[in-house]
Amino acid sequence: MSNLMEEQFIRIIEANKAKINRLCRIYALSPWEPKDLFQEVICEIWKSYPSFKGNSEIGTWIYRITLNVCYRAHQKEIKNARNTIQLDSIKFEPVAEAYKPGEEQRYLALRHCINKLKEIDRSVVALHLDELPYKHIAEITGLTENHVAVKIKRARALLLKCLLSVPSAL
């Protein structure tokens, strides 16, 4: 990888770290920690970046890689196949008082409800929550835009139903 590409890689990671982390936090189930998934995603982007042709927007491409890594982790493929790389250059620190009172419980309930959805619905809802247009969600998931719209409508209804059934959710 050339110096220019390395600089671009760093800029991309810095610009997208929050959204990568949002997805990792959803998919992180024991024994996976969000930071393990995050590091795995960074390694995957590093390995794949030289072959990025620019056919899609970089943000869309990042989402696709992140979801692939998270999906594989969820299926326990990575866990069974190999250990993860620990990158000491990436530090995660919990932010004190990041949540307002009761917000953490509500977030955990949201995570619980998203994880109850089917795999494809989970991805679609997560991308929808990140306010991606249907076109981009379709590109990332391989669905048609119409199918995305239908899935979002159904998944939203399921998610709200689940959240309303959890006392601490809303």
Binding site: I10, N21, R22, I85, S89, I90, A98, L129, L164
Partner: protein, 90 residues
């Protein structure tokens, strides 16, 4: 639930989703990251390939063992049937 209520709840969900990312402060030591990726990813990949080859080897030999065992059982059954028929003709 009314559409208006649904929209309100959904907006709350979105706010929750967006705030959650702020619960972690992610600091990346940029210079060190590139060096680390260069050194760790390639050696990790080598190890992973070794591990995969080992796994394929083991899986193949186990598969072969089972396949041979199945063939032998089939062969033995056929011979027994043949002998049985032969005896019946006598």
């Amino acid at each position: 639930m009314l559409d208006r209520d649904q929209k309100k709840v959904w907006d709350e969900v979105k706010a929750l989703w967006n705030n959650a990312a702020g619960a972690d402060k992610i600091t990346i030591k940029v210079d060190f990251l590139i060096e680390e990726l260069k050194s760790k990813v390639s050696s990790f990949e080598k190890e992973a390939i070794k591990h995969d080859i080992e796994r394929i080897k083991n899986a193949t030999s186990q598969f072969e063992k089972e396949s041979i065992e199945r063939d032998l059982q089939l062969f033995t059954r056929s011979i027994k049937q043949f002998i049985k028929r032969l005896k019946g003709k006598e």
